[in-house]
Subunit: 217 residues, 2 copies
């Protein structure tokens, strides 16, 4: 099985790396693609390489959309060519699961792929998702939310729990337990804290270019 | 403050990326170095780039040694030039904390930097550490173990808890809480499992080249 991750400049490192690590231990192949092949940077400056373009993507079983820097999200969502959004739509039509982690959910929502689904995102971006009238936002701050074949994760570190959930969905509980054991994923943070609910979407108002119904898909 | 990570081919992705993400949210700079600059691959094939060589490393406050593929570890430990091990020794002399995650502890132990300390590693590599007569291995499978200025982590995912602990040590509890909140690090794995204690070190017997006392340091 093949998990596909569409990357972009200033994507979040752990949104990609956490799930990539978990999937690899499960024996699931992960394909990283971007609009153009070549070097990209994570939001924190770490430089990585993408070998394949969107056009070279294989036959994915799962579409996994990572979150990233706010300006990067706005750029992808407001792109009049709709390169990223339309790629998500095309890939979504053939996969078993459409997944996002963190504010990657905003990209799925902008593509219309969360309409009619109950979903979650990073706590700070809940007000942004609530701006989509057809999207139902799960109460509280779940690690992830599964509604039919939409699996959406909370912000950044929830990608680990969510990836393990996806392994369980695709391969069963024993496979997920083996990954948990190999990655020693029995977490225990040294501190505790609480989330203060966000009241405003931190993104500027973003115009999403309409789909051209004549665009070849 | 500057956290230094000496990378190598087939290093583990999450050993690097998990802590890198946590440190970045704390405002701690992270410097990735390798024997040679250029592209390297994580153990799972993900390609990344290193800009600086060992010789170009800055003044680090923390030495953070990631684990990786077994063959890669053996290669670094048995290298007659001792390039990696001697770099660890040199850096250890000036930092506030010497840290490892996963089987990165075997590299520190091979460099003699864990002699006299109580430490931990990935559960599967506990028998390897026990082969070092001067190293005390912590009971059980703690997420991390702090003994004076040695901070060693369990295998792979414990790097997240350990990195948060390091943020707390360097910057205080409030800083660690802020990182926890921003990364929504309130983990809750969807499955449970248990570790079966390892009885044998999975690495082949490895000869560590002796230090040349005349080597310029």
């Amino acid at each position: 099985m093949l998990i596909g991750m569409p990357a972009y400049d200033a994507v979040d490192m752990l949104d990609v790396a956490g799930p990539f690590e978990m999937f690899s231990w499960a024996g699931l192949a992960v394909e990283l693609v971007a609009e153009k092949s070549g070097p990209l940077k994570f939001r924190n400056g770490f430089s990585f390489n993408v070998d394949k373009t969107f056009g070279e993507a294989g036959a994915w079983d799962v579409l996994w959309v990572p979150g990233g820097d706010q300006a990067a999200l706005v750029k992808l969502m407001s792109d009049p060519r709709r390169t990223y959004l339309d790629f998500l739509i095309r890939q979504s039509e053939h996969v078993k699961y459409v997944a996002s982690v963190c504010d990657g959910a905003l990209l799925l929502a902008a593509a219309g792929l969360l309409d009619g689904y109950t979903v979650t995102t990073h706590w700070a971006f809940v007000p942004c998702l609530k701006g989509h009238p057809k999207v139902r936002v799960a109460d509280g701050y779940p690690r992830y939310c599964l509604d039919r074949n939409r699996l959406t994760g909370g912000g950044i570190s929830p990608g680990l729990d969510e990836a393990l959930m996806l392994v369980q969905l695709l391969m069963g509980t024993q496979a997920a337990q083996a990954v948990q054991c190999n990655t020693q994923y029995y977490p225990c943070p040294p501190v505790t804290s609480e989330i203060t609910p966000a009241t405003e979407c931190p993104l500027p108002p973003t115009t999403i270019a309409p789909r051209k119904t004549t665009t070849p898909r």
